[in-house]
């Protein structure tokens, strides 16, 4: 049956998209752990990462460096966001914070539309477009990997490892985790919490920017590419367990897979709805998510 032979292809695409969802979800989780707020502007970090990288490439900067510049730019943006919008309102209610980040995302989207126009902009793949065929015959003969997909999955994997090292083996990382576990206790232990919060934002921006840079060759950069991505990233974070970084990645991968596999069963127009339907199911049956263990105490 064609589905069986197409299955590996769906899986690959699902894992690729899922990796990006996972990166976005980790960004959400970092900020949620640090401030208890949901950052609706997370998707815009991805957008800016992509668009800045595209602009650099257009000016002749090699692709790798362009992505790094994008990451740096978004990192600064995220820190600015924290300073300007989140810090002044840190004692505000849930709904206020939500609206602030929503307003920020509108603002960022509008600025992006003005700076880069509304058209989708292409970005060259890192190592060409020659598909890597997995097998000459047999079950996997129709399966091929685009090199960029390998890049996406590989970079995300490396990023996860580095994040783990950061959180587990460095002082800064442990300090950030401490703030997430119990803010007051961290303060008493001498950790400058407000600086850690800004660092969390910066890190989240870094990851978002990276995600944008590596994903842009596949989906093209556009001023509104981040909006849906951000929302689905949040769905992924909930699926994996809000507040759990590992859960965020797992949630992202699962979501990407489910979303792609669903197109075999239902019309592709409903694809976007799948992510949110899954999220709703999780919220209503097991709100703590797949790996639910919230590391944040109030």
């Amino acid at each position: 049956m064609s589905f069986a032979s197409e299955l590996p292809q769906y899986v690959i695409t699902g894992l690729t998209t899922g990796s990006i969802y996972g990166m976005t979800a980790i960004g959400f989780t970092l900020i949620y752990n640090a401030t208890g707020a949901v950052n609706f502007a997370q998707g815009e970090f991805v957008t800016y990462g992509a668009l800045i990288a595209i602009s650099c490439v257009a000016k002749g900067v090699p692709v790798g460096a362009a992505v790094v510049v994008g990451m740096g730019g978004v990192m600064v943006l995220a820190a600015l966001l924290e300073r300007a919008a989140i810090r002044p309102a840190r004692r505000a209610s849930v709904i206020t914070l939500i609206i602030i980040t929503i307003g920020a995302s509108m603002l960022l989207r509008g600025v992006a539309a003005n700076l880069w126009g509304q058209d989708a902009l292409p970005m060259p793949s890192f190592s060409g477009d020659e598909p890597i065929v997995l097998a000459r015959r047999g079950l996997f003969s129709s399966v091929s990997l685009a090199p960029q997909q390998v890049w996406v999955m590989g970079v995300v994997l490396v990023a996860m490892v580095l994040l783990w090292v950061l959180g587990d083996r460095t002082l800064v990382g442990k300090a950030i985790r401490a703030c997430a576990i119990n803010r007051r206790a961290a303060q008493l232990a001498g950790i400058p919490v407000s600086r850690m919060v800004m660092l969390s934002f910066a890190l989240s921006g870094l990851l978002g920017g990276l995600a944008g840079g590596i994903f842009a060759p596949i989906v093209m950069g556009q001023y509104n590419m981040g909006t849906m991505l951000g929302l689905k990233g949040f769905a992924a974070a909930i699926l994996g367990g809000m507040g759990n970084p590992v859960g965020a990645v797992v949630g992202g991968l699962v979501l990407g897979l489910l979303e792609n596999l669903s197109t075999a069963v239902i019309s592709s127009g409903y694809k976007d709805a799948v992510a949110f339907a899954v999220m709703l199911v999780v919220l209503l049956t097991r709100p703590s998510g797949l790996l639910g263990r919230r590391t944040r105490t109030v």
Binding site: A85, S93, A104, G110, M242
Partner: protein, 404 residues
């Protein structure tokens, strides 16, 4: 008593604003007000967040559109069906959703809203997809057809009045007190014997009904509907309206709906910068006046008064008036006929004309606004300064004169 004033104000409005454009805007404000009233009750009094309210509006709109345009039902029945369907869906969806709290509820309602939007777009056999449904008959009563803005305005104003009175009665009733208890603390409320889940559901259902009703009115007013009117950004606009006006406040709902609708409309002059301007405004207001513009401004005014006396207050007030005057009185016609925007609103101009005039004068309108604000501020501060001097002299005079 206040409602009499509201009724009078609503009735007097069309005497001042006569243009189709202005009245059309007023109808939109009215429709938004109805939705925001429900949202306000839900968010402000019961403390629940809904980022998917546009879904109910869309459900109501499509219900009445399908029933009246495709099946030939009477528009009034369609309207009733819109409200009922909105309530029913809210009831069904609210059962599981309202067990969530805070961010989870926000995301749950958001997800619901997005799913409904996608379903509307994809279910083409029912909704005609992105093409939308056209030729929706207007509401009619005997010989009177509520097709033109002025007639629709009367209908919508009446609906708003009824909804405001109803909402106000609910707030002051046992149900309202129970809701406020729930908002204050669900645990405390339930230990006091309040059936928390039931009241949350009731408010949610009411907000769904109001949204559905408004959607139906919208469909019959505009004559055609398409999915893009009921997307996530509309849901967000509605929440912004509720919050900007101040949440646990019925007047806040009216103010918020009016303010955001009008701001959105005036920001159209900014063209490409519209979303930037709106986003910036939202962020600033939520940072400085999270309790809503009314209460926030009142608080700021009080602090300004105690620290600076008349000057900042008068300066701010006259700056606002100056800006408004500048914006309204700027010439709309680049070529020669010196009509001002104010003339356009009161004398009436068609939307087509106005759109043509707004676009090329984008920069000019805001230049006039800025000039108005600066002149107004300068004037106000100066006058305030003199008034302050006078007050000080009087106080000193009293002290000197009366001291024995």
């Amino acid at each position: 008593m206040w409602f009499v004033l509201l009724g009078v104000a609503l009735g007097a409005l069309p005497l001042v604003m006569r243009g189709e454009y202005a009245l059309g805007l007023a109808v939109l404000v009215g429709i938004n007000t109805i939705i925001v009233l429900g949202l306000n009750l839900l968010m402000g009094y019961a403390g629940q967040v809904s980022l998917g309210q546009a879904a109910f509006v869309g459900i109501g709109a499509y219900a009445t559109a399908i029933l009246s345009a495709k099946l030939g039902w009477s528009p009034w029945l369609g309207l009733a069906a819109a409200a009922l369907l909105g309530a029913a869906v809210a009831g069904v969806v609210g059962l599981p959703l309202l067990r969530l709290r805070g961010h989870y509820l926000a995301m749950g309602t958001l997800g619901f809203g997005i799913i409904v939007h996608i379903v509307i777009v994809q279910w083409e056999s029912l909704t005609a997809g992105t093409v939308g449904i056209t030729q929706i008959p207007p509401l009619a009563m005997g010989y009177v057809t509520f097709g033109e803005p002025i007639r629709m305005y009367v209908l919508v104003a009446a609906a708003v009045l009824v909804c405001v009175v109803t909402a106000s009665n609910i707030v002051d009733s046992r149900v309202g007190r129970a809701m406020r208890a729930v908002h204050g603390s669900e645990v405390a409320a339930s230990t006091s014997g309040v059936d928390v889940q039931r009241y949350k559901r009731q408010v949610f259902v009411l907000s769904g009904a109001l949204a559905g009703l408004a959607g139906g009115l919208f469909a019959h007013y505009q004559g055609y509907i398409s999915p893009e009117s009921f997307d996530l950004s509309y849901s967000i606009s509605l929440v912004v309206m509720a919050v900007i006006g101040g949440m646990a406040s019925i007047w806040g709902a009216i103010f918020g709906a009016a303010a955001v609708t009008l701001i959105n409309e005036s920001l159209r002059a900014l063209l490409d910068y519209r979303e930037v301007g709106f986003g910036l405004l939202v962020v600033l207001i939520m940072i400085f006046w999270p309790e809503g513009v009314w209460r926030g401004a009142a608080g700021t005014a009080e602090r300004a008064w105690s620290r600076g006396g008349m000057r900042p207050l008068l300066g701010a007030v006259s700056a606002t008036l100056g800006g408004l005057a500048g914006f309204l009185l700027r010439p709309t016609d680049a070529s020669g006929a010196q009509a001002t925007f104010l003339d356009v609103i009161t004398r009436g101009a068609t939307l087509g004309e106005l759109n043509r005039e707004l676009a090329p004068l984008a920069q000019r309108s805001f230049a006039y606004l800025l000039i108005g604000v600066i002149v107004g501020a300068a004037l106000g501060v100066t006058v305030g300064y003199f008034i302050d001097q006078r007050r000080r002299r009087d106080v000193v005079g009293m002290a000197v004169g009366r001291s024995v």
